[in-house]
């Protein structure tokens, strides 16, 4: 069977230009490549995760995706009940019976931290998310290390909005970070990232991308889950996708997006240098 049927349960909406849309893009790419039958449900609440994923499994989808770490438990239960189905959780904690795919978060954060270190004039940068949890913490750890590798006395502010999609609130949070001297911002948000970019543009600050891509970013080191899903689909087609934790390391220059024209060459070089160090194992993160 070389055209896997793939379905995803998403916590948000597919037009958020961030995590959810990224997953959706992955589905579409798989459809394009394999002619697969794809399906998805948006705005799946915590209470209905198992219901939705089980239903897809029952409807005969080969790969059922629970998009995000909060699906880990549900995925485990669905995998138990439907041994025929491959259950995939991007950004999930390693779980028996479930395929989890993770980027090595600190590496990506580090890279962005280095760029921020090269660009920050104030010595203060910031990261925003809706909630506090492991993946974001890890990104921030790397981000801080990268930043302090350039500006050892630099400070990293962290703020939470409690809402992945509230653009206006994210914008206000960004304003406040900027007024606390932060001049590079890293939104780790769904649709709400737009507000952060808007605030940065209005107030002469910069953004870097981790879940989203935007021309106005200095650069994006995107945790590209579309690619991760494609990888999973490829493995599945080859019959090699296993229920285990796949970790994607920063191994290629392309994992760093294009630099914004305003980023000076020496900062770009610093970033490339950092990639080399990570690749070569000179820099490690656990």
């Amino acid at each position: 069977q070389d055209a896997p049927r793939v379905a995803a349960a998403l916590p948000g909406i597919v037009t958020d230009k961030a995590f959810n849309e990224n997953i959706y893009d992955g589905l579409v790419a798989i459809e394009d490549k394999y002619g697969s039958d794809i399906a998805y449900t948006e705005n799946v609440s915590q209470a209905t995760q198992v219901e939705v994923m089980s239903d897809y499994a029952r409807r005969g989808y080969d790969i059922v995706i629970g998009a995000g770490g909060e699906y880990t438990d549900a995925a485990e239960r669905v995998a138990e009940n439907f041994p025929e189905t491959t259950v995939v959780v991007p950004n999930g904690a390693p779980t028996p019976g479930v395929t989890t795919i993770n980027y090595n978060n600190p590496e990506f954060g580090y890279l962005l931290g280095v760029v921020a270190g090269g660009m920050s004039k104030t010595g203060v940068i910031a990261a925003l998310s809706a909630q506090k949890f492991a993946a974001f913490d890890n990104v921030v750890d790397g981000y801080r290390r990268g930043f302090q590798s350039v500006q050892p006395d630099g400070e990293v502010l962290v703020a939470y909005t409690n809402d992945w999609a509230d653009v206006a609130l994210a914008k206000e949070a960004a304003y406040n970070l900027i007024s606390k001297d932060a001049d590079v911002l890293m939104p780790y948000l769904d649709g709400a990232w737009v507000g952060v970019v808007q605030a940065a543009q209005e107030r002469g600050a910069h953004t870097v991308g981790i879940l989203h891509e935007s021309e106005s970013n200095l650069v994006s080191a995107r945790l590209d889950f579309a690619r991760a899903l494609m990888m999973a689909a490829d493995l599945y087609a080859e019959g090699k996708l296993e229920p285990k934790d796949y970790v994607i390391h920063l191994t290629q220059d392309e994992q760093l997006g294009d630099f914004n024209a305003i980023v000076p060459e020496e900062v770009q070089a610093m970033a490339r240098d950092a990639i080399q160090k990570i690749k070569s194992g000179e820099l490690t993160f656990d």
């Binding site: 914008k171 304003y175 406040n176």
Partner: protein, 314 residues
């Protein structure tokens, strides 16, 4: 921790944030207050903000000007008001059920339609919004100048709404009738006042006002439409009405209070990374509860609020 209170530029920022977060609340609270004063409980504010935001995006996107956005936002708000009035006033369906149903419907309808109407979804819009208007001289005052006198038209509109609602309710004859209808429709009816007419008018105008809160979000704040962007503001506005004891001026201050503490909590969070951010996020709500409890005496809502009027009922 509270250094932003002493640093002028930071203070201006916090106050600016507070005001921006308050404006949608003010529109919604004034709209809701008008409805409640006429005896109709409008719990649908949340949905009406969303309708307004959606209408504003539709207008600004298809006509290229924020003014059309405003117009269509008002139209959406008015339509939801008509719905509430027909069901909750004429057909005497429980107003709370109608309100919640409107909220549910608004959430689904606007998300759904935004996908049909906006290519790439409402999140990718870049709408033309309103520019700030600097009031000469005043806007140069330090701290307060930029906060108060360099704002866009809708901010001034919100302040005007407060004054207008207060003026109409307490300085005009029709306002007196509205208050009477909200307090005792039977007495108003016997005095020859059109109970239903006034309730319809208040609900439609009030709902349109709430919709302006949504239009403000879209046309001046984020210039795009995102699903459920009302994000609970309608409920906070309801709280502000009670906190404001059904008085426009106090309700206005309650909105500012919410806005201020929301701004402050954003500020406090990243100064205290060791304290869970939720502690600060809960601050506006805790302050509101304390304010409610601390108020001396009790505030009485308009006596007939939420009770549909039926002439022949004893």
């Amino acid at each position: 921790m509270f250094d932003f209170l002493t640093d002028a530029s930071q203070l201006a920022d916090v106050l600016g944030t507070a005001l921006r977060l308050s404006i949608p609340l003010i529109f919604a609270a004034m709209g809701g207050l008008l409805c409640e004063r006429s005896g109709v409980f409008n719990i649908a504010l949340e949905g009406q903000i969303l309708f307004g935001a959606f209408g504003a995006a539709v207008g600004a996107y298809y006509f290229g000007t924020p003014y059309m956005g405003l117009l269509i936002a008002i139209a959406f708000g008015a339509l939801s008001g008509v719905l509430l009035a027909v069901l909750g006033v004429t057909l005497r369906v429980n107003q709370i059920v109608v309100g919640i149903a409107i909220i549910l419907f608004a959430a689904g309808f606007t998300s759904f339609m935004s996908r049909l109407l906006f290519p790439g979804g409402g999140n990718s819009l870049k709408l033309n919004g309103f520019e700030n208007i600097d009031i000469p001289v005043l806007s140069d005052i330090p701290v307060l100048g930029p906060v108060l006198f360099s704002q866009n038209g809708l901010v001034y509109g919100a302040l005007f709404a407060v004054i207008a609602v207060h003026f109409v309710l307490f300085r005009t004859r029709v306002g007196m009738s509205i208050r009477a209808v909200g307090e005792s429709p039977a007495a108003a009816d016997a005095a020859g006042i059109h109970v239903f007419g006034l309730r319809y008018a208040c609900v439609i105008v009030g709902s349109s006002m709430a919709a302006l809160g949504g239009a403000y979000l879209v046309l001046t704040q984020v210039l795009l439409f995102s699903d459920n962007m009302s994000a609970g503001k309608g409920f906070i506005a309801l709280a502000a009405i009670v906190l404001g004891r059904w008085q426009p001026r106090i309700a206005f201050m309650a909105c500012l209070l919410f806005g201020f503490f929301d701004a402050v909590q954003l500020r406090l969070q990243f100064d205290q990374p060791e304290i869970p951010f939720q502690v600060f996020a809960a601050l506006p709500y805790l302050v509101a509860i304390l304010a409610l409890v601390g108020l001396m005496g009790q505030a009485n809502p308009p006596a007939s609020v939420g009770r549909p009027y039926d002439r022949e009922m004893r």
